[in-house]
Amino acid sequence: MEEIVVGRLADIPDGDYRIFAVDELEVGIFRTGSKVLAYENVCPHAGGPVCQGKIFNKVEEVITPDKKSAGLRFGKARHIVCPWHGYEYDLLTGCHPGDPSLRLMPVKVAVRDGQIYVSVPE
């Protein structure tokens, strides 16, 4: 693998993300708290540009002790949503909330001296 600098971490505010093409490899770089995550920009559903979509917090349904619905709320987990068809993936795990076997392809990423390095096959 070869490490390629794609940009500066300071250019991605906390909670934000950017998408880069390194030749044919497209990578989404997500900054969330102290973590920097990277995934291939290919939705495992139909090949859509998943990392170019929007981030939404996971929608949860609140159930009361007597099993009634108390409505919907946004949870803490953050999802990247494929703009083609709306497939959602947990940013930390890369997994679809209803089928963990459907997951984004992670890309090795590192931050050194404020620079973001992405590993690409040589």
Binding site: E2, I4, V6, G7, R18, I19, F20, A21, V22, D23, E24, L25, E26, E40, N41, V42, H45, A46, G47, G48, P49, Q52, G53, K54, F56, V81, P83, W84, H85, G86, E88, L102, V120, P121, E122
Partner: protein
């Protein structure tokens, strides 16, 4: 996915091109949204007919209104427009704005990209961008909010709007792009007006068929429709039933989530119409009329074929015009592929066999709607051979609609490379 490049940079290092990609919004160019599809299209080079895509007629509503025959309804429509963005008179269905999953799918929300000025109609440019990105040779376009116009309480309004839309489409849009085709809107709540529409457009080369929007409470076997079916049969062009949804339908009001209503509604209306069509012997009355069922997916068909066969064998006296089992008539019909159910490929394969997909199935994208399918919905199916894929993607439709196939995409042509390198698409 990575393409290795020569080591031609400094110090023996290869030189890699690094660029930034945009976040996709309602302002993003269709070609950017579909850039991944365009890569597949360049690789595969199939002949593709998309039998169901959509224009957004409400984005050009003043132009449609201008085409209305009646000054009174024209004034009514303009009066609605002056009160706000809602297209006058259209009586848009409850739930229509839920489709983009509340902002998650921008292209469903709006194609707000810029297009060059000039003589090319904006709708034509949008369609051309999608066709070129998806590798589509012909695209058959239907309206969008008008898919539920059949629920309008005033039959005469359906006639006025339907006729105006047909004029706008055939006079302003289709003449600019011969690859765009239409199955014209029939104001089905008014049978006589439908016959007039068929007569008016029977010889228009851009009109390759006629369509009924299925979302309505009308019995397709009613005697008032027999002149219409005769007229369509005489044209040699097919009749399509394009399904849709309506959350105002009392049955659908039991569903508290859009996903529930949408999943059922698109199938529900075509189940009813196809059942009436078969049981009342319309295939026997109009043996040369070819019928297409659009945008209900396919999974409902094995269910309905078996259910109708089972009951018919016990109650054939109630369907005296039938000379065969209901499923045999269904196998002679045509179906569009989208939204293709494929979360269980064994069931998908069985469905394809049941409906004779190799000759009867027609690829459809439904672009630009949120649940659109790409050509890879067909090319990645592991149980189809190359000939079946090519038939479904384009050749079945070319035969049905008598479309010219470009020389370099005829049956003898081979793909540049083997398709379907990715795992089968699951949905």
């Amino acid at each position: 996915m990575l393409t290795k490049t020569p080591r031609n940079g400094k110090n023996g290092k290869r030189s890699l091109r690094i660029s930034e990609l945009p976040k996709i919004s309602t302002a993003t160019d269709t070609r950017e949204i579909l850039a991944h599809a365009a890569k597949e299209a360049r690789r595969d080079n199939y002949f593709i007919v998309d039998v169901d895509a959509h224009v957004t007629e409400t984005a050009f509503w003043p132009d449609v209104i201008d085409r209305m025959d009646s000054d009174v309804y024209k004034q009514m429509a303009r009066a609605f427009k002056e009160r706000g963005p809602a297209p006058g008179l259209l009586n848009t269905t409850p739930g229509l704005l839920f489709q983009d999953v509340f902002g998650r799918i921008p292209h469903q929300q709006r194609l707000g990209e810029t297009v060059p000025g000039g003589r090319t109609h904006r709708q034509v440019t949008l369609v051309q961008r999608a066709m070129d990105s998806l590798g589509i040779d012909y695209m058959v376009v239907f309206p969008t909010p008008m898919l539920v116009l059949g629920m309008h309480p005033q039959a005469e309004v359906e006639v006025v709007i339907g006729n105006a839309f047909n004029k706008w489409l055939t006079e302003d849009v289709l003449p600019q792009e011969p690859r765009m085709k239409a199955m014209l809107y029939l104001p089905f709540n008014h049978p006589e007006a439908c016959v007039k529409a068929v007569e008016a457009y029977a010889d228009n080369p851009s009109v390759i068929g006629f369509s009924v929007t299925s979302t309505r409470f009308r019995a397709v076997h009613h005697d008032s429709y027999m002149p219409l079916y005769s007229a369509i049969q005489a044209t040699g062009k097919p009749l399509a039933f394009h399904s849709g949804f309506h959350w105002g339908d009392q049955s659908m009001q039991q569903c508290n989530r859009f996903i529930s209503m949408h999943s059922i509604s698109f199938v529900y209306y075509n189940i009813i119409h196809l059942t009436n069509w078969i049981i009342n012997g319309l295939p026997e009355r109009f043996p040369k009329l070819r019928v297409i069922w659009i945008e209900s997916g396919l999974a409902w068909l094995p269910f309905l074929m078996q259910r109708l066969d089972s009951e018919y064998m016990m109650r054939s006296s109630e369907a005296p015009l039938l000379k065969r089992r209901p499923s045999e008539y269904i196998r002679d019909m045509y179906f569009s592929s989208q939204p293709l159910e494929r979360s269980n490929l064994e069931l998908t394969e069985a469905t394809f066999k049941a409906i004779k997909a190799e000759t009867q199935l027609l690829f459809a994208s439904d672009w630009p709607h949120w649940d659109f399918d790409l050509p890879n919905s067909i090319t990645t199916l592991p149980f189809l051979d190359e000939e079946a894929k090519r038939n479904i993607l384009g050749f079945n439709a070319a035969r049905l609609f008598n479309l010219e196939i470009p020389e370099h995409k005829t049956l003898k042509a081979k793909p540049k490379k083997a398709p379907a390198v990715r795992e089968p698409v699951t949905a």
